[in-house]
């Protein structure tokens, strides 16, 4: 029986369309190292744009089915890999963060909605999926990353650059490591801006697929500085379901929209409370508020995180729950949200930044 040509294999794979990017996986350049042997054995690499791809397993199944149904194919060998693409197809890389491919900001309109907990678990979930991830704590007045990751050492300085601390496979930097987490920072705006710029440019971040930035609440200096200094791939807005919190989350969204930073979507934290006594789900702050708000605002809804005691216990103990209790329902919710964010981030890497030429 004649074996199919490489072209025929590619044509069959071109029927698989990436649901987020809206194009077929062959023209997106995801199929690599294709080999067809004389005995009809087909082998290729399927390169995803993020290791946290929510449709990874579906792609593998579709690829095996599509190629397997070609006449003359005796065996299909799909190797799934991932290569995070740099944001905005950028050449050359950003001067401020040269080795960082994607920058994701986590913001909220008001404090106390669990933004830092979401940021830490998002970073840890992306790391677990196989990506190299950094976490920058840009909350100068209330740094939470040291407590949430159980880190407090002074970072070393090598060649006049700070070396990030490492915990749970993440590279971490926070003002809490520098000034002491228990000391109050009594600074005016320009000092905050300068400190944030230094935490980007004077830190040896190295090569990273994702740099997650935990922003302070509100629409102030720190967020503005970050949006001006680096082209952010996008921003994730965290809110709790009640109307007041959502109304304020809208303001954060407005700020980033006016700065042309793409909203990756809205995360609803403390979505529901699981009673440890009866196991019943209580919707303490109402139900579906963030999803409706996301629809109204025209941004994706990225999912909900339960208000659960284990999240709080692990956070207080200095461990992201996705790492310390990976099988819990809360950890699963965080991983689902992280996967959605990774998918939205991949879409952004196909956008372009303006180019400036001087003649």
């Amino acid at each position: 029986m004649p074996v199919p040509s490489q072209q025929q294999v590619l044509e069959s794979l071109a029927t698989i369309v990436d649901p987020d990017l809206g194009r077929d996986v062959v023209s997106l350049g995801m199929i690599k190292d294709l080999r067809v042997s004389d005995r009809g054995e087909v082998a290729f690499t399927f390169e995803l744009t993020t290791p946290a791809c929510p449709v990874r397993d579906r792609f593998k199944g579709q690829a095996e089915a599509a190629v397997g149904s070609l006449p003359g194919v005796s065996r299909v060998d799909v190797r799934m890999t991932a290569n995070v693409r740099p944001g905005f197809m950028r050449q050359p890389a950003s001067e401020t963060l040269p080795g960082v491919k994607q920058t994701i900001a986590v913001a909220s309109g008001k404090g106390g909605v669990g933004k830092s907990t979401v940021a830490v678990n998002l970073a840890a979930a992306l790391q677990q999926s196989g990506a190299s991830v950094g976490l920058l704590d840009a909350d100068i007045y209330g740094p939470s990353v040291p407590g949430l990751t159980g880190t407090s050492q002074q970072p070393r300085v090598v060649d006049q650059k700070l070396v990030p601390l490492e915990a749970y496979g993440l590279r971490l930097m926070s003002i809490g490591f520098l000034g002491g987490a228990d000391k109050a920072m009594i600074w005016r705006g320009p000092m905050v801006s300068r400190a944030i710029q230094q935490m980007m440019s004077d830190v040896r971040w190295g090569e990273l697929d994702y740099l997650v930035m935990d922003l302070p609440p509100g629409t102030g200096d720190a967020s503005l500085t970050i949006a001006q200094s680096v082209p952010l791939t996008g921003v994730v807005i965290v809110a709790t379901p009640q109307d007041l919190a959502l109304d304020i989350a809208v303001k954060a969204l407005q700020m980033f929209r006016s700065l042309n930073v793409t909203p990756l979507g809205l995360v609803e934290n403390m979505s529901w409370f699981v009673c440890p006594e009866c196991g019943h789900e209580h919707h303490v702050f109402g139900h579906g508020g963030a999803e409706r708000a996301a629809q109204r605002l025209g941004v994706p809804f990225l999912g909900g995180i339960p208000l659960a005691e284990d999240v709080r216990v692990e956070a207080d103990a200095g461990a992201p729950i996705v790492a310390s209790r990976p099988d819990s329902a809360s950890a699963r919710a965080f991983r689902d949200v992280a996967s959605q964010i990774a998918a939205r981030t991949s879409i952004q890497s196909f956008r372009r930044l303006p180019v400036i030429n001087v003649r």
Partner: protein, 94 residues
């Protein structure tokens, strides 16, 4: 985005295909910064000035600010204005 030094012109090719051309003088007089526009109800420099010396009008640098605008530097050293793309699009092209 092209800065043509010889002609003191900034040319912008927009995503929708439009092309606009802006001379340095137009950009300088449109500077949105607080010093030029005034703040807190006070008058700015451009509200009272009737002309500016040549070095104030010569564009020397253009750089990107985040993803929302341009910072334009002039020969005089004035570079505090951030011109948002929305603002630039409202300026008439020559």
């Amino acid at each position: 985005m092209d800065l043509v030094r010889a002609d003191n012109l900034v040319e912008i090719a927009w995503e929708d295909g439009a092309r606009t051309r802006h001379p340095g003088a137009q950009l300088r007089w449109a500077c949105p910064c607080a010093e030029c526009r005034g703040e807190g109800g006070g008058a700015g420099r451009l509200d009272t000035a009737s002309n500016l010396p040549e070095e104030e009008l010569q564009v020397t640098d253009v750089s990107l600010v985040g993803q929302y605008g341009l910072q334009i530097g002039f020969a005089s050293g004035h570079a505090t204005g951030i011109y948002t793309f929305r603002h630039l699009r409202t300026l008439p092209s020559i």
